[in-house]
Point group: C3
Chain length 350, copies 3
């Protein structure tokens, strides 16, 4: 689907939607309801926004199947936001840079560069490394020796990938990402700290996206893995030997100590902290700012707090804490009433 000027009907077909109104209108961009204009497609999901949607100047609206908005052109689908994202993938594909190896780039001996690759200015690709077809390595990125980068990746500026690391296909590494720095492990000796060996590797699987300035440390002895389709936000820290599963989502500034396993499909909020050797089981959801103690097994469900508790329990305890001033009053009241009773009841101790 190479063209970027498509009709609403063509886009609807792509997302399995039903067009009502004039499906021949040409769409060139996605936009939000309020900023949309001619040639734009927008979307609405919740009934409370239908009124705003009706007054949008978009050329076409994506709406829920059940919706009746009477818009000049609308595409009815089961999941409007997903359809909007899928249509955006077509209308706004990642910037294609014409294949080029910039004259300033330093390509090591025996490096294998695929077809239609873009390599920007001041890039290094080390000895014996491979770069897959159509991958873009933008200005200033540094790829070490014996690195494998797959096809259709975008390696943004100033990324660093250490020697020997493996990057899958369709991986996006945003600017400032560091893959394969030494993990943090020391053994205390008489004279100070000795580095525990940090000689392992990192495997980033297909379709992973890592946010700006995120760091993934190499395994100490084994490997650190980020599973297929997993997405990390900016400034996430992944320690040595972590095993992050597939389709995991981790928000910004979360820190994961060494040897943590996060199974498939977990959702982790921002600024969460993980001690080492934790197992997060598939289906667990951990709220932002939570803290998980070392060695913990986190079962499926929604978790919150420091240290983490089931969300319901967290809320319940928080409510109890809020009631503490009242508890104090209650105790004072009971104490007064007991004092009165004590005065009234003759002391009949034996």
């Amino acid at each position: 689907m190479p063209s970027k000027d498509l009709t609403a009907s063509e886009l609807a077909a792509h997302v399995g939607g039903r067009v009502t109104g004039d499906g021949s209108v040409v769409i060139t961009r996605v936009a939000s309801l309020d900023s949309a204009g001619e040639g734009d497609i927008s979307y609405v999901e919740e009934q409370k926004f239908f009124e705003a949607a009706r007054s949008s100047r978009a050329s076409c609206l994506i709406v829920p199947e059940s919706a009746a908005l009477d818009f000049a052109c609308q595409v009815q689908v089961r999941n409007p936001k997903l359809a909007f994202a899928l249509i955006a993938e077509i209308l706004h594909p990642p910037k294609q840079r014409a294949p080029e190896i910039h004259s300033s780039a330093v390509i090591g001996a025996d490096a294998k560069i695929g077809r239609d690759v873009f390599i920007g200015a001041f890039v290094c690709v080390g000895e014996n490394s491979t770069v897959g077809d159509r991958t873009q390595i933008r200005a200033g990125a540094k790829i070490g020796d014996n690195v494998s980068v797959g096809t259709d990746c975008v390696i943004h500026p100033n990324v660093f990938i250490e020697d020997g690391m493996t990057i899958g296909n369709r991986v996006i590494l945003h600017a400032g990402v560091v893959i394969g720095a030494d993990g943090f492990g020391y053994v205390r000796g008489d004279m100070g700290h000795h580095k525990f060996p940090q000689i392992g590797t990192v495997v980033i699987e297909d379709d992973v996206e890592l946010g700006a300035n995120t760091t993934v440390d190499r395994g100490a002895l084994g490997r650190t893995r980020i599973g297929k389709g997993t997405k990390l936000d900016n400034m996430v820290h992944v320690g040595h030997n972590c095993d992050i599963g597939e389709r995991v989502v981790i928000a910004a500034q979360t820190g994961i100590s060494g040897s943590v396993t996060i199974e498939d499909d977990c959702i982790i909020g921002g600024q969460v902290g993980f001690g080492d050797h934790i197992l997060v089981q598939s289906g667990a959801v951990i709220g932002s700012k939570a803290g998980v103690l070392p060695g913990k097994i986190v079962r499926p469900g929604v978790w919150w707090g420091i240290p983490i508790q089931p969300l319901d329990e967290y809320k319940r305890l928080n409510a109890h804490i809020s009631r503490l001033p009242h508890v104090r009053e209650q105790i004072k009241d009971l104490s007064e009433r007991i004092k009165i009773l004590e005065r009234q009841v003759p002391n009949g101790d034996e």
Copy 2:
């Protein structure tokens, strides 16, 4: 005010201060009370430091209007620390680099480079981008296509600015800053996560300063804004579509999710976490490590804790929590006394 060797009297005039003692002494540097020597100017604000100030070897002291220190040369002002900062701006202007475009720099077609610009080694400035007069772009910084950078900016080494972003005048971006990486938004489909479109922009207004390794994501559909005169510390994360007002101060490692509005003159501590779609009203102060739930409206005042509460309430509840061991004792005592009463009172249940 180009000279850097000025007399105490000249400096005093600059800050509207009154000189007592020998105003003809030449001042070349600012320094702290204890490290100052000949040619240095220092400052003191609080009475408790007056004694230390008297024994300083500084050539001149900035003191409060009411102070009577009898120093050989002193400048009396209303706000000594502010006067000290203003004098430092004159004595220690940002390093001026001789205008140059380094021979290794890669300047794109149709880029417009202003007068007296410094462009360091291994810098890229993309196609059709503009760099304002007297701006310094230091070694290794990467500026994308269609970027506008204003006048008198300092872009430190290894900064990255994505295509299409806008940077105002007198902006300082410290090393490793990333402007315009994709925001973190996905829609779950049957096969995994689809990227919600991240095609918006970033606007950094005049006089903004961003700390090292701070990241500001592009808007998803609209823009992310950092308002005039706002200062962010190191490693702050600003999500897509945030609108940060003017003169806001945000300390290190704070993370701001998407679509958060922080109005003018707010003060935000370090390691604070914001959920999405929060509104922080002008005049709010949020303490370090606080957590703000998504959708929250934060009114003016001082806020603290996870989730945030007014500081007074936070302190009150913390005091209650500290009293819990005492509460336990109280309950034990009441229970004992009731037991005694129950033994003493004949059970008259109907």
Copy 3:
């Protein structure tokens, strides 16, 4: 000890261990118990792993002095993990890069480059800076003017060191580290924020290691110091004028405000936040995610929580909080019993 193929006996001698079994076996690598194969040495410390150790395919095991594993070749030592680390230092020395100054590197006037130095592609070393013998400065690192870098350092890709900073010997700076950015200090004036002068320096002493994307700000007027043998994990923020002692360990994403002193041998967890002007005394241990209020003196011992408390107290209060639902029940029960007593006792108020 230059060779990398050593016998178990030679390695045992290096760590003061006693060989049992065939000490002539040649060892080339360290490995974990489960991944080890021929030529590998592994270690075991705890009795509970002895069974797993016996079935390891390692060529040699490092074991506690008291252990009786009957392995084909074993080295008995007091501290197996330390011996393992020391042996790894020999078998896996940091990658040696052949001395070279890459043709693309930009070396400033009067820079002094030592013997056997490696300087990679797109590196800058500023005017009048010195680089000690055998130091490696990897691709894309930027060293400012008047910087001193000691001997045997490894400066990883895309590190930035500001003008005038001092780096000791055997220092490792991982990718993306920023040394000497301006500290975060402003004085509010009528028109907005004025920068408090940030003109001090940074001193990184010998044997320090800083994790990827960690930032150490310059002193405002004085200096910021990281003491000998101290290790910081990824994305740690060290504010202006901090004084971090020797052999301190600080885990990832911890943030340290200005003018904090951390004395020798402290251990600080991840995501800890320090307000300014704190003194952490030698021997203090602060748990992950803790928060320390400005001006606090932290005495030796183990500390936890926001704000920090002694760990025992923290645990005790947490237990009290968990009991709050029970407290509510107790109060309800007492209240009921008092009601009954009140009904039974004739009201004899005066």
